[in-house]
C-alpha cells in the first residue's frame, strides 16, 4: 500500500522501513561562507520536481542511502 525505495544493500522495501533525511542544498551563487551556512541551516527549497534525498534504512541495514525523488509523482531514481 505504499511507495517503495530500493536500498542498494537490502533491495526494494516499503517506504515505512525508512526514515527521511533531507540534504539541504546551497545555491552556488551564495559564496560568502557565513551566508552559505545560514542558507544550509535555515533555507529549504521545496521544489516541484526532482530533489536529492537521504533515507535511513531503519528496518534493514541501518545505513543512509541517497535517492532522487520527483516530488510531483514520487518517482524514485538512483
Amino acid at each position: 500500500m505504499s511507495i517503495q525505495i530500493s536500498c542498494p544493500h537490502c533491495g526494494k522495501r516499503p517506504i515505512e522501513e525508512f526514515t527521511y533525511g533531507e540534504i539541504p542544498r546551497v545555491p552556488d551563487h551564495i559564496t560568502d561562507p557565513d551566508a552559505r551556512n545560514v542558507d544550509r541551516v535555515f533555507m529549504y527549497t521545496n521544489p516541484a520536481g526532482v530533489q536529492t534525498e537521504r533515507w535511513f534504512h531503519l528496518y534493514g541495514c541501518r545505513r543512509w542511502l541517497t535517492v532522487r525523488r520527483d516530488t510531483r509523482d514520487n518517482q524514485m531514481s538512483e
Binding site: G11, R13, P14, E17, R63
Partner: protein
C-alpha cells in the same frame, strides 16, 4: 511451538574490503547486515584485515529455526515485500512491523529479531 532464543552472535564492523576478503570458517553463518557489518555465528573467529575493526560478542538478537512452510505462513501474513527466490539467502526488512533478519535455506530458515522486540514479534506472529 518453537521459541525465540538468544543467538551467540559476534558482531563485526570493518571496512567493506576487509570483510570481502575474509575467509569465514566452514561451519559459520556470516550474515552481511551492511556493507561494513557482519553478524557471525561461528565457533571460531577469523582474522579480519582491518586494525580498526570492531569485533564484539553480541547477545542482542533472538532467533528461531522454522520449516519453509512455517516461514511461508508468517511471511504471507506479515511481510509486504517480496522474498528473493534464491536459496540460501540472507535478507532483512520489516516482518510484522519489526526489523527482522532472515537466513533462508531450501528446507528451513532462521528468523532473527532484536531481543528487545522478541516479545512483540512472538505475539504478532503467533510464535508466543
Amino acid at each position: 511451538m518453537p521459541e525465540l532464543k538468544s543467538l551467540p552472535f559476534t558482531r563485526i564492523v570493518a571496512t567493506p574490503m576487509a570483510l570481502d576478503a575474509t575467509i569465514w570458517p566452514a561451519e559459520a553463518l556470516a550474515f552481511r547486515a551492511a556493507n561494513d557489518e557482519v553478524l557471525l555465528l561461528a565457533s571460531s573467529l577469523p582474522t579480519i584485515a582491518d586494525p580498526h575493526a570492531i569485533i564484539l560478542p553480541d547477545s542482542g538478537f533472538v532467533g528461531v529455526w522454522l520449516s519453509a512452510e512455517a516461514l511461508q505462513a508468517i511471511f504471507e501474513q506479515h511481510c509486504e515485500w517480496a522474498l528473493p527466490a534464491t536459496r540460501p539467502v540472507f535478507v532483512q526488512g520489516a516482518v510484522a512491523g519489526i526489523a527482522a533478519k532472515l537466513w533462508l535455506e531450501a528446507e528451513r530458515g532462521l528468523l532473527i529479531v532484536p531481543a528487545a522486540y522478541g516479545h512483540d514479534f512472538a505475539e504478532r506472529t503467533g510464535l508466543a
